[in-house]
Symmetry: C2
Subunit: 285 residues, 2 copies
Amino acid sequence: MLRTANISELRKIIKEEKQRGKTIVLVPSMGYLHRGHLTLIEKAKETGAFVVVSIFVNPLQFGPNEDYARYPRDLERDAQLVEECGVDLLFHPSVEEMYPRPMVTFVEVGQLDKVLCGANRPGHFRGVTTVVSKLFHIVQPDIAFFGQKDYQQYLIIRRMVSDLNLPIEVRGVPIVREKDGLALSSRNVFLSAEQRQEALVLSRSLQEAAELIRRGKQSARDIEDFIRTAIRRDSQGVIDYVEVRDAEDLSEVTEINRQVLIALAVKFGPTRLIDNIVVEVETNV
Amino acid sequence: MLRTANISELRKIIKEEKQRGKTIVLVPSMGYLHRGHLTLIEKAKETGAFVVVSIFVNPLQFGPNEDYARYPRDLERDAQLVEECGVDLLFHPSVEEMYPRPMVTFVEVGQLDKVLCGANRPGHFRGVTTVVSKLFHIVQPDIAFFGQKDYQQYLIIRRMVSDLNLPIEVRGVPIVREKDGLALSSRNVFLSAEQRQEALVLSRSLQEAAELIRRGKQSARDIEDFIRTAIRRDSQGVIDYVEVRDAEDLSEVTEINRQVLIALAVKFGPTRLIDNIVVEVETNV
């Protein structure tokens, strides 16, 4: 496996692979890889392309009171993992390499970035779209893989690519879960044993809510209340949001008569977890 | 010469040229080409590359009370001109091709876009950087040429390319002028004979101001006053701005002790003209 922290060196490698006619696939990440990331990488490998994994904890997407400093990092462990997965190139730039001088240019996806995680994390998605567009320009992949645990991020990246005509196909990969249902996240390491147990209410209530919808429940507000009640009953988690939204454009939904996303963010102590489920609705129109 | 209004068709052509090992050069324009544009195209041709000229009057960079509707257009005349220049590919997309649905994604270069033309044309540079980044993603040029009559635009594009790691070299080409000094502009056709004559005060006063600086004048405010006085004395032009700024980052300048840009915008009737000069200062430090 090749590895570099240097943009010019990466560009040279990519150029050579493209000249050989290789398709380039990018899996962007913030590292501290778990089985969710490894699933993304597996999907990337299945394309038969030249697979690049980037590891960069992007300061631009963390708010001043968020967990940038304590976000877990372990580059050598990550490097070993991706090498075992057969990744071709690991790109792990420093903050100075990515931001050699103060940034004044930003890429912003309006509307989609104002709701859900965007409402309580101002500037977060602007940081994400800006760094992802930098990574896209640096790596110039043909295909990029994103996990759907960050469903809103996945939709925002898709919209950015479409609006700005980026020559890249964005593929989403479903959430990977522990056997007991907990969505994999690098932040799960911060949970105490008790919080870890309580956090199961998230995936459980999402599943139950999806089942209610499939059985004909149509009120989005009722579904949200059902989940909120379950979380408050079964855990000490502090709800950031629980929302039913259109699964394509995140617009508000009152009556559930199309594909919807149920998304939530809940804090367990200082650790903020997110989870979601997309529910197909049979329409009998 | 090839020509297309279609993004997929353009991409196919570019891909083939890249596979042949050709360098791609882009000259973006809003059409109604004059000798200024043709100079850009000549410079592009001198590279020996595959030269793409785009013609697109971008609604996104015009304010609601600006001259989008009446901006001059003549595609067939332009097509003939660029063919005579030996351009390889003319790209002239429709508004629907460039904006098939409402845009929610924007690229914004902060700071640099707030001053000079940005101060009185809110959203103008955001429209420029967004459409240029789209054109860059569509054409994927190795080199792009921009005229320095829009000096601020040139600096903003350079900064966008650098901040977002676009793999493109931006080259600026000096202002092309009529024999009597008037900077070439597609908007000059709107000037009456009298306005056309009066507008000469712009280039003349810029030249005289540059000469004052070369002879040792150091006060930026005095230089601005000198130009403003000349414009008010010799024309009916209504001054939008006359400013001396740092030629690299457009920051404010009080004492002229480094390379400066003197830039101005003046309205003659409904027609807004811009002009500028970059003045090198010998530093004896």
